[in-house]
Symmetry: none
Subunit: 189 residues, 4 copies
DNA sequence: TATGAATGAGCCTTCATTCAT
DNA sequence: GATGAATGAAGGCTCATTCAT
């Protein structure tokens, strides 16, 4: 059968949604997404019962991919600086290599359609990273809020860095480095 | 002239729009905005010919208020540290005092309905602040891109700080201080 | 007082309405008409209580002007041919000289907003002409319906003639003549 | 394919549109048309992407039906008189049998919502008839403008005839005959 | 009387979701 | 399961008319 299997369809929907959300935001029409995914309007709803569901799962899947990119080859036994540097570089490189996912992710993160549940699940995917932050970077190791603060700072600063890289792709090395300097000088223990 | 355009009504529309955009984003319906402003659906369009116009003017007015809050009593003759500290404190205090405006501002700043023109006008309102950044904080005083980078970092870091303050209003002093430390340590010349 | 007198305003409204109806049809907005007449939106309604009233009076006034143009210098004592020829030439000349009025008139004549009353009043303005038709041209002098038939034919044929003239103004003499030939050969007693 | 587009529904929409356009003109609301066609408001737009599209296709379909009615059993080998007579009778009979279509057609033909394209397509449908006119009736066989003039005259005169028939349906034979006499005497070669 | 802001019904169109095929 | 036509509730905007000034 030339038709892709179910899992491929699901992936095609998510891919199409990523591209459209990156371009036009969460107001992208489901029928547009279906068309770009190469399926019928109604089929989308057998994979995602609701547009909100699609958006939430999309957000979760992108964030998970990012978390995985960061944690692959994480040098657990290296020093704080190197571990931090590893995370930053992976984060920025992933964003530079996946600009569409990154744009979609930003659109989704400010949307009110992403539920409490989804945000919790995302935190779960970032658990290891958060732990690392709590242990190494937050001012007060016992303080969850402090860790969340630093985690949010990384995200925010990498977003800015990636915006600049998107505007001037040839300066990726410069911006990755500058961004890290600011971050590290700002938050190092 | 018959009834003149009422400045109060215009303000009521902007206020209603601020609240709804903060809550549900730019997809807030004009009829909801009108209802909340206490006027008829059609009246909104005598004040703002288009929903996009309303959104753009709303963005400009919030950003201008913020710029004014920052620049009031700006200690031009003080040292770099004090001037920077002034801006940071004003920015964070304004955000803490106007959480709705701040949320609306964030929604608007990622929206593609804000025009190039409006963004230029906003830059004009922030001209003094941008100049200050370029002269004092950016790595290369001659480099516009570097100044933009630092400016975006301030915004991003204050957004994070304000999110945390919104979640724990009683810790405003702590977060304002922590945020500044990270910022200052990160970008000081 | 530099402001025009009432009668002038009424005329200005009718003039503006003529131009707009000719251009965009009866869906021309009253506020557009008011603007083009140089008056306020509300003022229009002190001269014409309703848009339908305006449209009806406009139709009547144009038709009356046409009737007057036709009947001026009507050669009552001349023969049938000459009297008929006079009417035709006047009709076509008026249309060629007042293309805007003619276009507006045609738009109005197919509109369902022109009331029975107005159509009766128009007939009154054309009474003399109708009488002439009944006496000279209709197949059966006693038959009102027959006269109406011929009257409508004149109008229809002159409309066609005027459309052609509007498309090729330089051929006015040709079309006026051809049109008359068709008409006269068709309906002469 | 799931449910295919239903030819019946399309026809129902066109029928409803015909009736409403005949009654209130092109300002007939799409929601009224949908209601009268027995479908949901939105469904109309799966058959006609735009109100203008609906209007244009309606015009084309009515005009095509008329052209077909005229050309059916056209006596190609008969003399000029008989061929002309055939067309006239068919035209008038069609109008008398389809008064609603005829009224709608008149409304549409003066509307500026009918595009150049549609008018060209209509001309195509009338190509045979136009050829007949050019060859037999127009003063100058080589002259397109002259043929257009005569064509417009037929339409105009039949419209008048049909109006009279609509007012006095019992006199259809009389009016059909009188109309033809006027037309034939007027334009015969 | 003139003005033009205010009103709200109504218009065309979009779109998430359902369901007959 | 896949399809896409059908649905109808909004949505942004227009406009004839009213009425405070």
């Amino acid at each position: 059968m030339a038709r892709p299997l179910s899992e491929e369809k699901r992936a095609a929907i998510l891919r199409a949604a990523t591209e459209l959300v990156a371009t036009v935001g969460t107001s992208a029409a489901t029928s547009q997404i279906a068309k770009r995914a190469g399926i019928a309007d109604g089929t989308l709803f057998t994979y995602f019962p609701t547009k909100d569901d699609l958006l939430n799962q999309l957000y979760l899947s992108i964030k998970s991919a990012l978390a995985e990119a960061i944690m692959t080859d994480y040098p657990s036994r290296a020093g704080v600086f190197e571990r931090t540097r590893h995370c930053w570089d992976r984060l920025v490189n992933w964003g530079a290599e996946h600009p569409t996912q990154h744009k979609a992710m930003r659109q989704l993160s400010v949307s009110d359609r992403i539920s409490r549940n989804t945000r919790d699940a995302v935190n779960l995917a970032f658990q290891d990273i958060n732990t690392m932050i709590r242990d190494n970077l937050s001012r007060d190791a016992a303080d969850d809020e402090s860790a969340a603060f630093v985690g949010a700072l990384i995200t925010a600063m990498s977003d800015v860095t990636l915006d600049c890289i998107a505007a001037h792709p040839e300066k990726i090395d410069l911006y990755r480095e500058s961004g890290f300097q600011v971050f590290w000088n700002g938050v190092r223990p």
